[in-house]
Amino acid sequence: MTHTSRHARRKFLQGLACAGAAGMVCGVSSRALAATTYTGKLLVNLQLTGAMDVTSFTDPKVNIAGKPVINNWASTAAVAKAGNIAYAPFAANAAFFNKYYRDMLVINGVDAQTNSHTLGVLHNWSGRNTQGFPTLTALFAAANQSALPMPYLNFGGFSSTQDVTSVTHMGKMAILQNLLEPDLAESSKKLYLPDSEWQRIVAMHKAGITTRSKVATNLEGARQQQQLYVDALNRSDVISDFAALLPATADLQPTRKAGTVTSSLHQQMQVSLMAFKAGVSLSADVFETGFDTHDNHDNRLSAALSNVTDAIDYFWTYAASLGIANRVVLIVGSDFSRTPYYNANQGKDHWPIGSVMVMQQQASFTNRVVGLTDADHNALKINPLTLQADNTGGVILKPEHVHKALRKYLGIDSAAATKLFPFTTTEDVAIFNSAG
């Protein structure tokens, strides 16, 4: 594509994006559409780093007479409910659950089998507590449209790909625009050289690698590097389409102060959705810190959790404005959870039983809670089919069960990439079967 047509297209796209009319082709690049006809699901995984206390969120626990206080909020309030979802009346939960209960599936009683952050992260985001498996987001990208220029975005946290796809690490958003249009000067917007000359250079690079790749004595690792170099060149052309839609720096979501944490979560979500919209990406890890609340738990969690629920609200609102809300699946989870009691510093320490939330609009599996914990927040065995308590033939839910079910639900369980990382001995649990 020539410089003239490319920049003309950008201008056209910018016009559409500015119109902001959902349901139109607003912002959808003709080039991106040409590059992919993908119209399937879009996946975002929100990693709440540090182990979030789910007893103040989706698995509310009240205090038991004679036992240590589990939650201070429970001394003045009862467990609340929105639809079929029980939640803790804590932080800004009420508004959040009342608005979104129809769009969420809560999976409680997920046993991370560790109290270690490193292993909790590994287990929850790869589905296995030993190294060697990719993230669900990586698999999702690989199984669908790995050929997109940025199939899998990662804003931080765990991002193992096991080479099934490439992960794009995202940095300072304010300079992203400059990267998306490498041939344009950032301030003057003048070209560094005519597009035809740059294309000649790129063609020379590709031809050079083609010649080199025929040399039989290349080390295997060198061949891989060469291939990825050409692959990056081939796929990077479409990236400029993203530039047409990327908000100006001033329009990027600002960072927010969430307790002691400076959060960019809203911005991560904004850019992820815009990348989806531009057709350059379909999978993203967004991450947030501030949940390692060994002291001053209630205050710190309240600030962090309020920001998270606000960000998720923004996420769905923005996805709707872009016209892609009906395609997006949002997973929310953490390393594990925190003790059902306070330590001497009004903090809570590590507890292996956590929860996962899966959000999607108008899905058949939502407004449901799967998984059981007792009043002391211990995981209970459930029957894999009926999902009811089953202390004899049931299973304790573990991340592998959640991953296996998600792979199936997302339609990637039979993809070639997924089959390389099987859960061969993991029971099927009917997490997404609303009849269960």
């Binding site: 030993t130 190294q131 804003f155 050289l193 250079i201 080390l219 690792g221 510093n345 061969t424």
Partner: protein
């Protein structure tokens, strides 16, 4: 010394009676190259028990020591001499060089290199030849000898000591005693598998006594014999499977795992056991040449290309001289950056989210408090922005000083050739002037030191909170105002990086965490042990949810915590964010909720410094000595043999450009065999490197050089022999490639070193360093880490990363060309010796300063050329047009123009052809100005035909005049060009351009090419096509064009690398772009359009695969 020695083969065996020289057996016959008789005596012995006994054979897996003993001739005792060691194995000779490397030896005495050079010969000289395990089966023969100073006679053992190495042993008891008991049973199992131990409920109980190997052998065999499928059961357990509560003790496939498997083979009655070497991974792989390695390593370690002298040395001396050259280049600011960057990759200190480390302790530093309030009061009283900025800058500089100090300490230890153990044991810190001033520091700084230059020093004014301390809380302030400082003043007990504020703050503790994170990272970084991996498969939910002090009482937890918690205890003196002895009067750093619980039993007893419901401070079974327990820990760590392997782990990624592999854990995993193979091989290399590191006296420079010399770094090509798919996959998994993607920092350094341009560099307000965009804003996008959200580097290119590379190339190319053509003579970095006025068609070119007093003051420009018959053209150009626009931007206040009056061409036969100035073709930049003259008003050319109807000497005289208002004279160019196709031109210009391209390919891409190489011809074609295209398209004749961008100002230091008269930066630290552009403009003129064509070639080279990979 050796050059005086006659070439004689050492294989000449001279028989002479042997005498006993040491306790070693096998005293060897003595001979000399001068055939005289000397009473020197030699012995070489092999031991598997540290020298207590000597033997002639060993097994491949056994840890052995080989030593030589020399009794020089009494006449030589006290003199200086060189000592040599030679090995024969499988028909080849190698020699042991200084530093412990084995090098091929030709058999010629003149080519021997000494193990020890110029040592004073003692009556008995002991030399350690080898420590470790041997990987090659069969007979190894060793010779030893010495050469007295000033003598031409080499005195040596004429017969070798011969040692046999067998693949296996058949006696399981011997195997157990020599290989299994100390390392595995005592080191890995007996911690838990003992009576009353964590694994007391298991069926295997050893006796935790290092002297009872026989009894423990009996215990294990009895246990083993009663197990069904014992072999698999035990191996699964030790590798963390089969519900082993102790987690992974012997990583699958690791050396210890293989040793255990071999032992079980012997127990099962197998006569031999297999041994594995690391060689298979490199079967069929050839290594880099020494000069090629030198180039890569110079860019990596020194941020520059090797010098001509270094190249010459290495080319002549090969690998033998490479190490010395590498060691010598480990200095300077780039090496400093390399060290700090590599250390940061492991410590993540810059990822600290606390933006002000130094406001954590309001009582520690009264001087700091006073300085803060002095600055703050001034800022508050004046409300001046400058005063507020001064306060903020001071805080930032303090924070920078604190964060960077451990990285600086590591760099200081290495750069000053101190034992690497000093990074943990140093009794000093690295302080900046700004820090030194507020902590009572003892650092001494030179006169030119900036506020943030580091020097070693100790903190002498650390105050411990006491009851007399009075603080006044002031809302909105970072620190309370200290009206009465604490009276308890101490010198801070520095323990290397371990108790640096930066490390303690990055890994803070809490009332319940109790220093465990600090202990975990100490284990990980300095002992190479990932505590969390010890029990990955601990899955007992009851244990994990236990509330009754599970770390002490629950086996599933104890397995890690029994190791972790004592080390956590050694950090007992450091509170949450690293404050030393936080309690009143500095009694301890215990949490107040423990000392005075609101509920429950109070465990604290006056005088306690650690928690009674945790294990006592210590290290792997040994209780810490009283006093400074962290100092004690540092001493334990550096004495531990794992410190050496951990150090190799620590620095491996920085050199190899790949992470250290983790042991594969699940046999069903994809590429398990390949992963295992790669892991095994890598562990073998790491162990070997660790041995060399120890032998070097913990010299990190030596380790870095050995890493570079390793075949892992120097793997270059396949030799074409068939390889298995497992081998191929293993090499990929191990990151073995000669084409490693540069990190953003490496790419930035490379571009700066080779071109002088520091892309997107801005001055860091705190450090005052010019930081490339690749080291700041663009880093994460290019696979870098930030120590917080991103902690693992990307090692392969992605599409978005390729746009970073493209942006870097496109933005840098023009300024690089602009700047380098402004530089003159040998100041040029890339285009030395090349005129920007040469085109592919140039037959001959010249330029002249026209110094006319008026526009009719014509001056001749004469060129004589010997030409074959043919058609040519003469291109007259104004090369340095300038216009100092008035405020209206429509007219020039000062201008340069070139008047072309006429041309005369004298042919070989003497005939004179006269052309009017108006006879040429010129664009809109020129105009006829009467009397058949033309005037070139701007960067412009006028072209005239030259028909050479016969071959011979032609003399061209151009009559020109300058019309100028500027102070410097007009520069006129005369270019004699061929008229054929530029693409196939063979003119002098084309040849010079191709020569330059060969040079650029070499310098920028590391390619060794000729002017006929396809790569060079492709670059030439790019240049030609760009040039022709721009000529046809009427491209503007300047690099500072209206249409295209040339972002010279994106490097804040760019102009200072050029001969700019004065300071280009304003007081606000920004360029006065108008003023600087006025200076640049005449030098950016490009009437022949060649500079801009070179800029396109530069963009090509900077985005080339070989530029981005080394």
């Amino acid at each position: 010394m050796l050059r005086h020695v006659t070439c004689i083969c050492l294989l000449l065996l001279l028989a002479s009676p042997a005498g006993a020289v040491t306790s070693m057996p096998g005293v060897l016959p003595t001979g000399a190259t001068d055939h005289k008789s000397y009473s020197a005596k030699f012995a070489i012995g092999l031991s598997v028990d540290g020298g207590n006994s000597w033997q002639s054979s060993a097994n491949l897996n056994q840890k052995i020591t080989i030593k030589a003993s020399l009794d020089p001739d009494p006449a030589h005792v006290g003199q200086k001499g060189d000592i040599f060691v030679v090995e024969w194995y499988a028909g080849k000779y190698t020699q042991l060089a200084s530093g412990g490397s084995w090098q091929p030896w030709s058999g010629k005495v003149a080519e021997l290199v000494p193990l020890l050079d110029d040592v004073v010969l003692k009556a008995t000289q002991e030399v350690t030849i080898y420590q470790g395990s041997i990987a090659t089966e069969g007979e190894h023969r060793l010779y030893v000898g010495y050469l007295p100073a000033g003598s031409a006679a080499l005195i040596y053992s004429t017969s070798p000591a011969a040692f046999q190495f067998k693949a296996a042993v058949a006696d399981p008891l011997i195997y157990f005693k020599t290989l299994v008991f100390d390392t595995i049973v005592m080191g890995k199992c007996a911690q838990c598998h003992v009576d009353n131990g964590v694994a007391a409920s298991s069926r295997l109980h050893f006796i935790n006594d290092a002297k009872l190997s026989q009894q423990n052998y009996d215990i294990f065999t009895a246990f083993y014999r009663q197990l069904p499928d014992a072999y698999n059961y035990v191996l699964a357990k030790v590798s963390g499977g089969n519900g082993h509560l102790g987690g992974i003790r012997l990583p699958l496939g690791g050396t210890d795992y293989q040793t255990m498997a071999a032992f079980l083979d012997l127990l099962d009655g197998k006569a031999t056991v297999s041994t594995k070497t690391t060689q298979a991974l490199f079967d069929g792989v050839t290594g880099q040449s020494a000069p090629a390695t030198l180039r890569d390593a110079a860019l990596l370690l020194a941020g520059r290309l090797p010098t001509a002298a270094e190249i010459a040395t290495v080319s002549a001396g090969g690998d033998a001289s490479l190490k010395a050259v590498l060691l010598a280049m480990m200095q300077g600011p780039h090496f400093h950056k390399f060290l700090k960057g590599a250390a940061e990759d492991r410590l993540f200190l810059r990822g600290n989210q606390d933006s002000n480390l130094m406001d954590d302790c309001p009582t520690c530093f009264p001087l700091l408090n006073a300085q803060y309030w002095s600055l703050k009061d001034k800022a508050d009283q004046s409300s001046a922005a400058a005063d507020r900025a001064a306060l903020n800058l001071w805080w930032s500089q303090l924070n920078f000083s604190a964060v960077e100090a451990p990285l600086e300490l590591i760099a200081y230890v290495v750069e000053n050739n101190k034992p690497y153990s000093e990074i943990l044991t140093a009794d000093y810190d690295m302080l900046t002037p700004v820090m030194n001033a507020v902590v009572g520091g003892t650092a001494v700084f030179g006169a030119g030191a900036t506020a943030v230059d580091f020097q070693p020093g100790r903190i002498r004014d650390y105050h411990l909170r006491d009851s007399t301390t009075v603080l006044e809380q002031v809302p909105g302030s970072s620190l309370p105002r200290m009206t009465t400082p604490p009276k308890l003043v101490i010198s801070y007990p520095h323990v290397g990086v371990l108790n640096s504020k930066s490390l303690l703050s990055r890994y803070p503790t809490t009332a319940t965490n109790r220093n465990r994170a600090r202990a975990r990272w100490a284990y990980y970084n300095f002992l190479g042990v990932d505590i969390e991996a010890l029990s990955k498969r601990t899955t007992d939910p009851v244990a994990l949810a236990d509330t009754n002090n599970p770390t002490m009482k629950t086996p599933a937890c104890s397995v890690c915590h029994s190791v972790l918690d004592p080390v956590a205890g050694t950090f007992q003196d450091y509170f949450d964010s690293g404050i030393y002895k936080n309690s009143v009067n500095g009694s301890d750093s215990l949490d107040s909720s423990y000392k005075s619980p609101r509920t429950g039993v109070k465990l604290y007893v006056n005088g306690d410094t650690w928690y009674r419901d945790m294990r006592v401070p210590g290290f792997e079974g040994t209780t810490a000595s009283t006093g400074n327990s962290l100092r004690w820990l540092a001493d334990q760590i550096v004495k531990d043999k794992r410190f050496a392997t951990a150090t190799v782990h620590f620095w491996w990624p920085a050199i190899m450009g790949a992470e250290v592999l983790e042991a594969p854990e699940a046999t069903e995993d994809l590429n398990y065999q390949a992963r295992l193979s790669a892991y095994e091989a890598q562990q073998g290399e790491i162990n070997a490197l660790a041995d060399k590191f120890v032998q070097s006296g913990l010299s990190l420079k030596t380790l870095l050089s050995e890493l570079v010399l390793s075949k892992w770094y120097r793997a270059d090509q396949l030799d074409g022999k068939p390889v298995s798919s497992v081998q191929s996959s293993a090499r990929v998994l191990a990151g073995i490639t000669d084409e490693k993607l540069l990190t953003p920092e490496q790419l930035a350094r490379k571009t700066l070193a080779l071109t002088g341009f520091n892309w997107n560099a801005q001055t860091n307000a705190i450090s005052t360093a010019n930081i490339s965009g690749l080291e700041s804003d663009y880093s994460t996008f290019y696979g870098g880490i930030d120590g917080f959200a991103h902690k693992l580097r990307a090692r392969t290119l992605t599409p978005l990363m390729s746009t970073v590379a493209a942006t870097h190339a496109l933005e840098s190319a023009c300024p690089i060309v602009l700047g380098d053509f402004i530089r003159t003579g040998d100041k040029r970095l890339l285009f030395a010796g090349l005129s920007p006025w040469l085109t592919p068609l140039t037959v001959q070119a010249d330029s002249m300063l026209v110094t006319s007093k008026s526009e009719t003051d014509f001056q001749p420009m004469v060129m004589t050329a010997s030409l074959p018959a043919g058609n040519y053209q003469l291109v007259v150009s104004l090369l340095n047009d300038a216009c100092d626009f008035s405020s209206s931007s429509t007219t020039c206040k000062a201008d340069k123009n070139l008047v072309i009056n006429s041309l005369s061409i004298r042919k070989p036969n003497g005939q004179l052809v006269q052309l009017n100035g108006t006879a040429g073709s010129y664009g809109s930049c020129g105009a006829a100005t009467g009397n058949n003259r033309i005037t070139l008003y701007s960067s412009c050319t006028a072209t005239y035909p030259l028909a050479a109807d016969v071959g011979g000497s032609y003399t061209v005289t151009v009559s020109t005049a300058a019309k100028q208002q500027a102070s410097d004279p007009v520069l006129a160019g005369l270019n004699l060009e061929a008229t054929g196709s530029a693409a196939v031109s063979t003119t002098a210009g084309a040849q010079l351009i191709k020569n330059k391209l060969v040079e650029l390919h070499s310098k920028l891409l590391g390619q060794t090419l000729s002017t006929t190489s396809p790569e060079v011809l492709a670059s030439y074609d790019l240049l030609v096509q760009t040039w022709l295209g721009r000529k046809q398209g009427g491209s503007e004749p300047s690099l500072l064009q209206k249409a295209l961008a040339c972002d010279w100002s994106s490097d804040i230091g760019f102009i200072s690398t050029l001969p700019y008269p004065g300071n280009p930066l304003q007081s606000n630290g920004r360029y006065n772009t108008g003023v600087v552009t006025s200076w640049l403009t005449p030098q950016a003129q490009d009437p022949l359009l060649m500079k801009q064509s070179w800029a396109v070639v530069m963009a090509y080279l900077l985005s080339h695969y070989d530029y981005l990979h080394d």
